[in-house]
């Protein structure tokens, strides 16, 4: 019973979202609002059970919670910072929340500084070595990559006018960037279509008799309803 309701739910919601392709309509609006509400509730619940309870209370009251952590007194600080965050709700003490924000901004800036320097900048520089054991073809490729990287970086110069030699080099850089963008685009086409295939297969599966022809039934109902709304809107003198 619950399973059958679930199937009809899935079909209705899936088709409601797809109906957006036709245009904004009450089905999409309803699905969108339901999605916002359900997901907010879902994330809030998950945050409490999976983060706050085990990671914070599990460390402050290890015996009561039993999340597998030992007692760690330093976790009183995030508790305080978290409570400071809640002071946003008070007019008088809302400046306390800035302290929590300041902690987050500071710690993330410090961590990212190091991580990006190490794992993106230095490793990328390191990987520009050339391997001479390959064929001529691979060596030519390495040279092309070198040219592409250098000219691409020139494009990002801010304090130099892009004219003359710099302008020419940065143009070459733009060409390389464009090829990269095109390639990402092509890739995205591939991946996204396979997602669509997944959804359609589910809809096809649910149009079988054992699900009481759920997909065609819901589809028909939606087409009729949307058609009726469109008809009424065209005839009504007041439009919003």
């Amino acid at each position: 019973m619950y399973e059958m309701i679930g199937v009809w739910c899935v079909v209705l919601l899936t088709l409601s979202i797809f109906s957006y392709l036709y245009g904004d309509n009450p089905f999409y609006k309803a699905a969108e609002h339901a999605f916002v509400g359900v997901s907010a509730g879902y994330i809030f619940t998950i945050t409490f059970w999976d983060t706050i309870r085990p990671n914070l209370f599990g460390r402050l009251f290890p015996e009561a919670i039993g999340a597998g952590f030992e007692f760690d007194g330093t976790y009183i600080f995030p508790l305080i910072l978290g409570v400071f965050m809640l002071f946003r709700l008070s007019k008088k003490y809302d400046w306390l929340s800035r302290i929590s924000i300041a902690y987050i901004v500071g710690i993330m800036a410090g961590l990212k500084f190091y991580v990006f320097l190490n794992s993106n900048l230095l490793t990328q520089i390191k990987s520009s070595t050339v391997n001479l054991s390959g064929t001529y073809f691979t060596i030519i490729n390495e040279v092309i990559i070198l040219i592409g990287v250098i000219s691409g970086l020139v494009y990002f110069f801010f304090s130099k006018e892009h004219t003359g030699v710099i302008g020419k080099i940065s143009r070459i850089g733009v060409y390389f960037l464009m090829i990269k963008f095109g390639a990402s685009f092509g890739f995205a086409v591939m991946g996204r279509i396979s997602l669509l295939i997944g959804r359609f297969e589910e809809l096809i599966e649910f149009s079988k008799p054992e699900y009481y022809y759920s997909t065609p039934a819901v589809l028909l109902f939606m087409i009729v309803a949307i058609g009726y709304w469109a008809f009424r809107e065209n005839n009504s003198p007041i439009q919003d």
Partner: protein
């Protein structure tokens, strides 16, 4: 001085294996600080114009003329991404513009903590422009944490409020295309900026202006126009030159190494033992 100190206590006071990174950081700080000093001393610094940054004010102006709100989307990540922080700094400037033009600003946010920060940023921006009366607390509001639910919600806002100017500034993932295509279909001026390299192509094709990668992080400094910030951008450019030189050095040395002219593997310099 610091270097000598560093090597002296390497292993005891300092962690081993991070020498290259440490030297890089010192070099970077030195270069950037040097140019900040120069800028502070009053030397004019040339900055190449970036179309997207120039267009921001125009877009806000157009939205004001048409009487529609300005929609600002600060991405879907939390404050643990520098992209989000950069997006919020740009929001500060955009909020300043809307305060000046008396346009209506609308900021739907994906993460509660970003919402609180964005509120703070907007409030201060309005205060600084002398228009605290125009600031409303519901300008910035939370939608939901989920990626696609957020995209659906923002889509709905775009379809029903029809903003004339849309800003996408922050960290974006797959939802970028849904947002940008919807914005495009309602005919808004769209200005995007992101450091998510896989999403840049979608913004480039669907938006009117896009801040690509590094431009996005520099935008706030551009907008602030203070010599200190501009100096740091100039310093960043010179760090870039250092990187290019390093790439060429690595390339040439590996070439020479391969031809057996020198016997030194330069990549061994780049060893890093990260604590992650």
């Amino acid at each position: 001085m610091i270097l000598i100190f560093y090597y002296l206590f390497l292993g005891s006071f300092f962690l081993e294996g991070n020498e290259t990174t440490f030297i890089c950081i010192l070099l970077l700080c030195f270069v950037v600080e040097y140019f900040i000093d120069i800028a502070k001393s009053g030397v004019e610094i040339y900055m190449r114009p970036i179309a997207a940054i120039k267009a921001m004010e125009e877009a806000v102006g157009r939205a004001t003329e048409m009487g529609t709100p300005v929609l600002y989307v600060p991405g879907i990540s939390s404050l643990d991404q520098i992209d989000t922080i950069s997006g919020l700094t740009i929001l500060g400037h955009v909020a300043g513009m809307t305060a000046e033009y008396e346009a209506n600003l609308h900021v739907p946010v994906c993460v509660p903590i970003v919402m609180e920060t964005a509120k703070e940023t907007c409030k201060e921006a309005y205060l600084k422009k002398g228009r605290p009366d125009l600031y409303r607390n519901d300008m910035v509001h939370y939608v939901t944490d989920d990626q696609f639910a957020y995209a659906a919600g923002v889509n709905g806002i775009m379809l029903r409020e029809k903003p004339a100017a849309v800003f996408f500034q922050g960290k974006f993932y797959a939802e970028s295309l849904i947002l940008a295509e919807t914005g495009n279909s309602i005919g808004a001026i769209q200005i995007a900026g992101t450091g998510s390299s896989s999403q840049i192509p979608f913004f480039v094709t669907a938006c009117d202006y896009t801040l690509i990668g590094e431009e996005f992080y520099a935008a706030s400094a551009y907008l602030s126009g203070s010599p200190e910030m501009l100096g740091s951008i100039k310093g960043q450019d010179y760090v870039k030159v250092c990187c290019m030189v390093a790439i060429i050095v690595v390339f040439v040395s590996s070439l020479l190494n391969g031809l057996n002219i020198i016997d030194f593997d330069i990549t061994s310099l780049f060893r890093t033992n990260a604590i992650k």
